[in-house]
């Protein structure tokens, strides 16, 4: 077999574009949402490109990929794309093929939606399927939550769009920290140190430097380290550096819920998500408490936000104190920051609401 060709870079995107796009590249004039899951982009030339957006579980088999390729061959001259939120998008130049494609997708059990004022697919991480530091699973919670919120994927009846994301630990390879609702796996206990093996497996200066709160000190006597329990915030970065400081604790690892983050600049600028629920136990296979909490937050926002208001805009209008009152969520010492952003969150005014 031929040797690998190195440094060739990604395949050229131009080879992946259907003729209607090549002819109208950079010439799109406007777009409309025809119905949930269907967009039409209209070119300066009058040409039209239809997009059918379909949900996917992200963790998919080659058989699923071949199925969607069959559909793209049948309806889209062999072209399709994926979105940054794991949706599949079929690109059509012939409007008459849109509905037959949707019928075929329905028959496959693949939902169409995720456009406009909807809840689109949940960006998420690997979880127990393939990660070595997770505090919870990813795909299982996402499946259970999307089952419950399914009607909001296939319709556009919410006040604005809602973006939900899940990361199974603080490493956040799913970077959920600017989402309308973030589901985040958390560790809650100090890592257990394997003093016997630590010096064989880990570099002590790198390990002590890996701690954001300076909780890890060398222990020269044991050729190991000690962890000041009262300083540790359970981020797990030390475990990433060293397998002998075990952060995984199945009895205590859990899920937290964060709200009011945003990425886009439209109206108000980007926002961090903020802690709403510090602790929900891991309850596989369907995490009913997480599902219920997310659904309640979605429906509370939907019932109270003005048209066009994202979660963050609604909460900022009514205030966080009112958010806790309306949601009935308990406000605890966990909600008050004591890390790098703490001072930006304390209130220095006599203005507040009861």
């Amino acid at each position: 077999m031929a040797q690998a060709r190195t440094d060739i870079g990604p395949p050229l995107y131009k080879e992946m574009l259907p003729p209607v796009i090549l002819e109208n590249y950079g010439k799109w004039r406007y777009h409309e949402i025809v119905k949930p899951g269907v967009l039409v982009h209209v070119s300066e030339s009058g040409a039209k490109l239809y997009t059918v957006r379909a949900g996917s579980p992200r963790l998919i088999s080659i058989f699923f990929i071949r199925d969607i390729c069959d559909l793209a061959d049948k309806y889209c001259d062999g072209y399709l794309r994926f979105t940054s939120r794991h949706n599949v998008e079929f690109l059509l130049s012939d409007e008459s093929k849109v509905d037959p494609l949707i019928e075929d997708l329905k028959a496959m059990g693949v939902p169409v939606g995720g456009t406009g004022n909807s809840i689109t697919n949940i960006v998420h991480t690997q979880g127990w399927v393939h990660c070595h530091t997770p505090a919870t699973d990813a795909s299982g919670i996402v499946k259970a939550v999307m089952d419950e919120l399914f009607e909001y994927f296939t319709s556009m009846k919410l006040p604005a769009k809602m973006r939900i994301a899940l990361a199974c630990c603080l490493n956040m390879c799913g970077a959920v920290h600017c989402s309308d609702i973030a589901i985040l796996g958390i560790h809650r206990t100090v890592p257990k140190i394997d003093h016997e093996n630590l010096h064989k497996l880990c570099e002590i200066p790198t390990l002590t430097a890996s701690c954001p709160t300076a909780a890890i000190r060398p222990n020269p006597k044991l050729k190991s380290v000690d962890i000041k329990a009262e300083r540790c915030m359970y981020c797990g970065n030390c475990y990433t550096m060293c397998p002998s400081v075990q952060i995984i604790d199945a009895k205590n690892d859990a899920v937290s819920i964060w709200v009011g983050g945003k990425i886009s600049n439209s109206r108000i600028g980007p926002r961090f998500s903020r802690l709403a629920i510090p602790f929900i136990p891991n309850n596989p296979p369907r995490w009913p408490e997480v599902v219920e909490s997310v659904k309640k937050l979605v429906e509370l926002w939907a019932a109270n936000a003005q048209p066009g208001e994202r979660m963050s805009e609604w909460i900022e209008r009514i205030s966080w104190e009112k958010f806790f009152e309306l949601s009935g969520l308990e406000f605890t010492d966990k909600h008050i920051d004591d890390f790098t952003l703490a001072q930006t969150t304390f209130r220095s005014t006599t203005q507040f609401k009861w």
């Binding site: 077999m1 031929a2 690998a4 060739i8 870079g9 990604p10 995107y13 080879e15 992946m16 590249y25 406007y30 777009h31 949900g55 996917s56 992200r58 963790l59 998919i60 088999s61 080659i62 058989f63 699923f64 990929i65 399709l80 994926f82 979105t83 940054s84 690109l91 939902p111 960006v123 979880g127 127990w128 399927v129 393939h130 990660c131 070595h132 699973d137 795909s139 299982g140 259970a144 999307m146 089952d147 990361a167 603080l170 390879c173 970077a175 790198t206 430097a209 954001p212 970065n237 397998p243 199945a250 990425i263 600049n265 439209s266 109206r267 600028g269 980007p270 296979p285 369907r286 048209p307």
Partner: protein
């Protein structure tokens, strides 16, 4: 094939209307022993409420220091076919556009040498092939990089440039003010060495959005967030504005009153915009894309420092370059010089596992700006300092 183990917990996740990853795992498992053992091991994780993967593991291909993530089961005696279960990252084409031939040939390779399971796509943007044995890794790379059509390369991992990604761009979006697809492809090719051979303090990410809607979440998810923008006036088609009103759009309630700088007004007949006070948030253009379009003097704002919480807390990118021209096909020399200057400063000063945003906070923005040769301007901050402790450079004070 041996008979698959029972998975009563995971079977619960085949219920309900959303497409099931468990169903996908079972489809793969029907034809593949490692997918079958993955299913079994995941069921065990659902019983134990924890992952069953050992810590880390270094594997790779000849000539590269990244692109493959080592993964080993911690219960290999129970699930021998996932004893090694490594991930291969394939660099996706710009904007995740594919033709079916390109995707099918990856599936065929993965059917031969892997579990048959994938992520489309991973969080950074790569096409992720999930689960293969150590002895197949080089073969997979040999085969995908020698495809006659659409040959493919590995993506980034470790302390290197991670695979850049971009939005749908001008191929499918009227808001794209830069050619995100061309720019992403160009930068990825320009910096192949940084992408494949880790040589930095930690990872560095580039994400490119065509407009301030930022559909690839670049401000939160990348060290270098490149977002299309414009400097001149929003173009208004007054006839199209009237058509929106005639169609029943609540222009006052949903557009004008939502403008963050209150720079718009509508007198019932004509829409006016005080462009000097517009901060280009995109809201009015999003809502009335038939009537309003960004101006023609287009380029990008570049924000530096975004990242997830590890280590010093979550950060969003900060404006460092308010506007840079990025003409499609131009070679983007100014941008490349900017990136090289930032990486050089970071590489020289950064500690192990310190992202550039954290280094900027540790050494101060003034040192960063001087290090990369950029002048401070008010657009970089929301407000000037209120803190009366501040530094002077030696040349700014009278020396004895």
């Amino acid at each position: 094939m041996t008979e698959a183990k029972k998975t009563p917990l995971l079977d619960e996740l085949e219920k309900g209307p959303w497409p099931s990853f468990v169903t996908e795992m079972k489809r793969a498992a029907a034809a593949n022993l490692s997918a079958q053992d993955l299913l079994g091991q995941l069921e065990l994780s659902y019983e134990d409420k924890k992952a069953h993967w050992k810590h880390g593991g270094l594997v790779g291909v000849m000539g590269y220091g990244g692109g493959v993530i080592g993964r080993y089961s911690d219960v290999p005696e129970q699930f021998p076919n996932v004893e090694h279960f490594h991930t291969v990252r394939i660099n996706q084409p710009s904007g995740w556009y594919y033709n079916t031939k390109a995707l099918r040939q990856v599936c065929d390779v993965w059917e031969k040498y892997g579990s048959g399971l994938t992520n489309l796509h991973g969080s950074t943007g790569d096409l992720v092939l999930l689960g293969t044995k150590t002895e197949h890794i080089q073969t997979i790379f040999n085969e995908v990089s020698n495809f006659e059509e659409h040959p493919m390369d590995l993506g980034g991992s470790g302390s290197n440039l991670r695979t850049p990604s971009c939005c749908a761009g001008p191929a499918r979006c009227e808001f794209a003010m830069i050619d995100t697809l061309d720019l992403c492809h160009d930068l990825t090719n320009e910096f192949q060495d940084y992408l494949h051979r880790p040589m930095w303090p930690y990872k560095s990410k580039i994400k490119i959005s065509g407009c301030p809607n930022d559909c690839v979440a670049s401000i939160a998810r990348s060290d270098f967030s490149i977002q299309g923008t414009w400097r001149d006036d929003i173009k208004i088609d007054q006839e199209a504005v009237k058509a929106y009103v005639a169609d029943g759009l609540d222009i006052e309630g949903l557009v004008v009153s939502k403008c963050p700088t209150k720079c718009m007004s509508f007198d019932g007949n004509e829409l006016t915009i005080d462009n000097a006070n517009c901060t280009r948030c995109m809201h009015c253009i999003n809502k009335m894309c038939k009537a309003l379009r960004p101006g023609d003097d287009r380029g990008a704002t570049i924000l530096v420092g975004g990242k997830a919480p590890i280590l010093q807390g979550a950060m969003m990118g900060w404006v460092i370059v308010p506007f840079m021209k990025l003409e499609s096909g131009s070679g983007y020399e100014e941008l490349k010089e900017f990136l090289e200057a930032c990486w050089e400063w970071w590489d020289e000063n950064g500690k192990t596992r310190e992202r550039i945003g954290e280094l900027i906070l540790r050494l101060g923005m003034r040192n960063f700006l001087r290090g990369i040769g950029r002048e401070p301007i008010p657009q970089m901050v929301v407000a000037p300092r209120a803190n009366p402790f501040f530094f002077w450079w030696p040349e700014e004070v009278i020396q004895d």
